[in-house]
Symmetry: C2
Subunit: 601 residues, 2 copies
């Protein structure tokens, strides 16, 4: 096993030096904290990760969940993790104090989630799901629902889930067929099937609480007829006991990776005795769920960046130790081999990883910061930050997911044949991370969301605000000689994104929706690269100051290294925008015209 799964130094660089998280404690909402206390929270999160997540990272993969009879057996550490997280308040980090939460800034909570995921993604998912599901009840459910379920979920005693997908309804939630029949007794009778439910059943808790989408009988067709229910595996009987609620686990899926967490297939109401409790108003379920979904999408981005980070440190460790070959300019074969980290091509692979993981984390914390500023700002600010967050959510989900895979693949490549074998963790990271472009909305769906919805909403207001944000960073960087090339390159790249966007809006204006969105995935990719370039320049402004004022050689090296990663991103990654823009400006409807029959041979 590698020694290190994340860099606290880099995390603090981003939190405090780039995003000035400590300044949030000036606001009433976060007034209970100061910098020192935030540091203590981060340290405690790291110790938790190091102590109870990291040690089981490999074992949870090799000893995956099993469906034995009607019980999904998971690794024994899951129970400890949930209990420890629950008792320590880690499932209520951003919950208000009056609801017994920690009321931490989102950016600190997300930083902790990043630490957990980098130590053991599968294990970190369990408490994360409890948190998200509980928040749905808090925000939209009745007091009675809150009392019955939330304390157990936040305490890590009951598992929360998001139960959306069905055999015939994945990307298209409009087509769910799980039904809810009203009764006179305050509950609905649920009948249907759900698949791919993370944490959907396991023996590490006393109960499972599904936040489930279903259609009330007679509801309108499509997404406008979807309601949200709490459907527990065991319901509370009149005598206060937990009794079966007719939710049966009909199977678990065997997955490429992310094996520490079971993904279940559920059958509700086989005995016509499954009760669901409506959350909020009928037919508003998708709107409620999308609150959780948007948070989950940021969560997926964090998970992807975290796995890629752990993979980067494993590759870095190997490259430092492993000796092979000599420098290209060295002709004497009798000299001893050098550590492979000295080979430029290996440094290239490592810098690529660093550029992806530190760029991704920066964009994710940027989103967290918007959540916090949205909370503490004026009404006008709140609207602006909400729009920026909406716009960037598909990007913050997809860039780390797609590039995380490439980054981990390069990490694996650094190890050569060893990377392909399970003596090293790279092959597991490679498998684990592949889920991220799929769950919580595929990359294709994110592309449609970004271009078809977010860029277009409110007459393009979010996109305009985004341009202003990027230009603020550019203004701050102007005049710094060490960032001159990159500042100019970012300005040009932003103009390119604006041109492409204007061009595509023109296509949309002509009414050809298919052609407009045909290359939305490429647009997402282009947008993502430029957004990450923006984040690197934002970091760059701090780095150059850091180099000049570094108190030690070690500190100076840290900033220097980051400056190389920044330069790498602009030299190797940003140029990819040229090819993407070329395609997007010349969309010829190729993929719209292509016929199914032409695939036959």
């Amino acid at each position: 096993m590698a020694e290190k799964f994340m860099s606290m130094r880099n995390l603090k660089f981003l939190l405090y030096e780039v995003f000035d998280a400590a300044s949030l404690t000036r606001y009433d909402d976060y007034g209970a904290y100061d910098r020192k206390m935030l540091d203590m929270v981060l340290q405690a999160a790291w110790e938790l990760a190091q102590g109870i997540l990291w040690p089981h990272f490999q074992e949870m993969d090799r000893d995956p969940p099993e469906l034995a009879g009607d019980v999904v057996k998971v690794h024994s550490s899951v129970r400890d993790v949930l209990r420890t997280f629950g008792e320590g308040g880690w499932i209520a980090m951003t919950v208000p104090e009056e609801l017994d939460g920690q009321q931490l800034p989102q950016i600190i909570a997300d930083a902790c989630h990043f630490i957990f995921c980098s130590a053991n993604y599968s294990a970190a998912v369990y408490p994360g799901l409890c948190d998200g599901a509980a928040r749905l009840i808090e925000n939209f459910g009745s007091q009675a629902l809150y009392d019955a379920f939330v304390p157990h979920m936040r305490g890590g005693r009951w598992q929360g889930t998001m139960a959306l997908t069905e055999p015939e309804a994945g990307s298209s939630l409009a087509d769910i067929v799980t039904t809810a029949e009203p009764t006179d007794e305050g509950y609905y009778r649920i009948q249907g099937q759900k698949i791919f439910i993370s944490g959907g059943d396991h023996d590490g808790v006393e109960n499972i609480v599904h936040l489930m989408l279903a259609k009330i009988k007679g509801a309108p067709a499509g997404v406008k007829g979807i309601s949200l229910f709490v459907v527990p595996k065991k319901r509370i009987s009149e005598t206060g006991d937990l009794v079966s609620n007719d939710v049966v686990t009909s199977g678990i899926f065997h997955k490429l990776g992310y094996r520490g967490c079971p993904i279940a297939q559920l059958s509700m109401g086989d005995k016509e005795d499954c009760r669901g409790y409506l959350v909020g108003e009928p037919h508003n379920g998708l709107r409620y769920m999308f609150q959780m979904m948007n948070e989950s999408r940021i969560g997926v981005g964090i998970g992807a960046a975290a796995i890629a980070t752990a993979a980067y440190y494993a590759a870095l460790e190997y490259a430092t130790i492993r000796k092979q070959g000599r420098m290209i300019h060295e002709k004497d074969p009798s000299l001893p081999p050098v550590p492979i980290i000295q080979h430029p091509d290996v440094k290239r692979m490592l810098l690529f990883q660093r550029a992806v993981v530190e760029g991704s984390l920066s964009l994710l914390l940027q989103c967290s910061q918007y959540v916090d500023l949205k909370r503490v700002g004026s009404d006008e600010e709140t609207e602006a930050y909400a729009l920026l967050l909406d716009l960037l959510t598909p990007v913050a989900k997809s860039y780390p997911s797609e590039n995380g895979i490439l980054s981990i693949s390069q990490g694996l490549q650094c190890l050569g044949g060893s990377g392909y074998c399970d003596d090293y963790p790279l092959e597991q990271y490679y498998r684990d991370a592949r889920i991220h472009p799929i769950h919580e909305g595929t990359t294709g769906i994110q592309g449609q969301d970004l271009l078809g919805r977010k860029v277009m909403m409110k007459g393009g207001k979010a996109f305009k605000l985004y341009g202003e944000e990027v230009r603020k960073t550019i203004s701050k960087a102007v005049g710094e000689e060490r960032l001159q090339i990159q500042t100019r390159a970012l300005e040009e790249a932003l103009v390119l994104v604006e041109e492409v966007t204007a061009h595509l809006k023109g296509v949309a204006a002509k009414g050809d929706a298919d052609k407009f969105l045909a290359d939305a995935t490429l647009y997402l990719e282009l947008f993502g690269i430029v957004a990450i370039a923006w984040q690197w320049l934002k970091q760059g402004i701090v780095m150059v100051k850091g180099i000049d004022g570094a108190a030690s050689e070690k500190e100076k090296n840290f900033y220097q290294g980051k400056l190389y990663a920044l330069r790498f991103f602009f030299a190797y990654e940003l140029p990819k925008t040229a090819g993407l823009a070329r395609r997007l400006m010349n969309g010829d409807g190729l993929t719209v015209e292509m016929q199914e029959a032409f695939f036959k041979d």
Copy 2:
């Protein structure tokens, strides 16, 4: 399981319509065949693949090799496969008739290998290894060695291997420490360790024959002191029995994929009783091995393209059956969902796969054709084809390997959550294919080979010949209106490659070898994209004729589909050259300058 693992129609399109393989039968060397017989060979290969490889594809992955005591147990089908291949002459496809071979054109043999690999990569490796190892003995070994080993290997009774890698010598073969001590009895005493030996030991054969690199005691340092030996697991005693040769399997590796084939760690001479038989002259081992290595590199390319092909057909099948969502322009949610193949973004993912797999296969068969033409041509032609083959080998190895992974990943993505689960074969293809950028020389090594050696050799003669070849294709395409855009784009892309090459040669001329080769991997990527564009245009010339003269709707659709894949490659993939060239023309030595200390934090 998917129904289809490759397209015979496309394979024949390439073989006969693009590369005119049937015309090879006009030469004496291949005069025993005609088109009909070649078709029969292909059909027989397909039946073999369908009959004994494809049925065990999944099972061999789930029931991987095990080291039990001193026996490596492999799937029971391995024995049948080797015997059937051996008895059917499939391990001697290109061997001359006088050596009991089939004397088939290389292009047909490679096509058969492609069929086998697409059905079951792991299984196809066993006979492939026997073939390569036997050829080394045929070409460089004595008659006695030939008689003792080759018939058994070509008969599928003894397994052949390539034993190069050692714990401390992977990419850098100069550093091998396995020793060979001469004796007076015609053999050498071998002592050392080898790792990552494919097919290095298993119970599907009676014996294992390692073609092994070792250093004769007192040999010069580096690659100039490496010799090649035959080192069998069991040697033939004076009484003709097979007795232990002191080769012990000390372990097998647990791999991400490619699990049907064991990768062994071997220990030779623990009891000082391991005998090796010198092949050819002392100290010439690496040169001999490189003959096999170069063929193996093409073989890896074929394997990569084959796995990606099978993945493409699995994704295509799913996309045709799976219904989800409605067309973007369709607003009525009560309409039934459509097969996902109708969504432009899914067509984009499928076209990407098709562009990669059919482009890769074309480049690989181009290389096979050069092998054949090299054999039957005049001396001058032979030199030219040999140079072209040398130049294109690293490209034909790497492009399918690197892009095969991306292609399979897109195939997996087409299936969404199902792609991540083992109910479908995509996750296995995704794991299996990841070996290809690693074995037989990593992508980094291929980049160094292409730019540092192949482009530079003989004053750039191979590179010049390559340009002429590409321009021949361009000349043939000029005037065809349906290929006008692509013809011009290829001409521009070729010029770009020439400019980048000239620029890099300038860097080399200044003597800065590190900087010259720092981005060799990017150069390989750039070169590869343009080479595949060339192959697509070459196919395009045939396609447009095919569309015009198609005898049936089905045939017309086939050519139409290929034309869309061609257009896709030029619209979506070729533009990537812009960003790559931008970096290569502006190399600033970033990865050379980056210091190990800057990676610390």
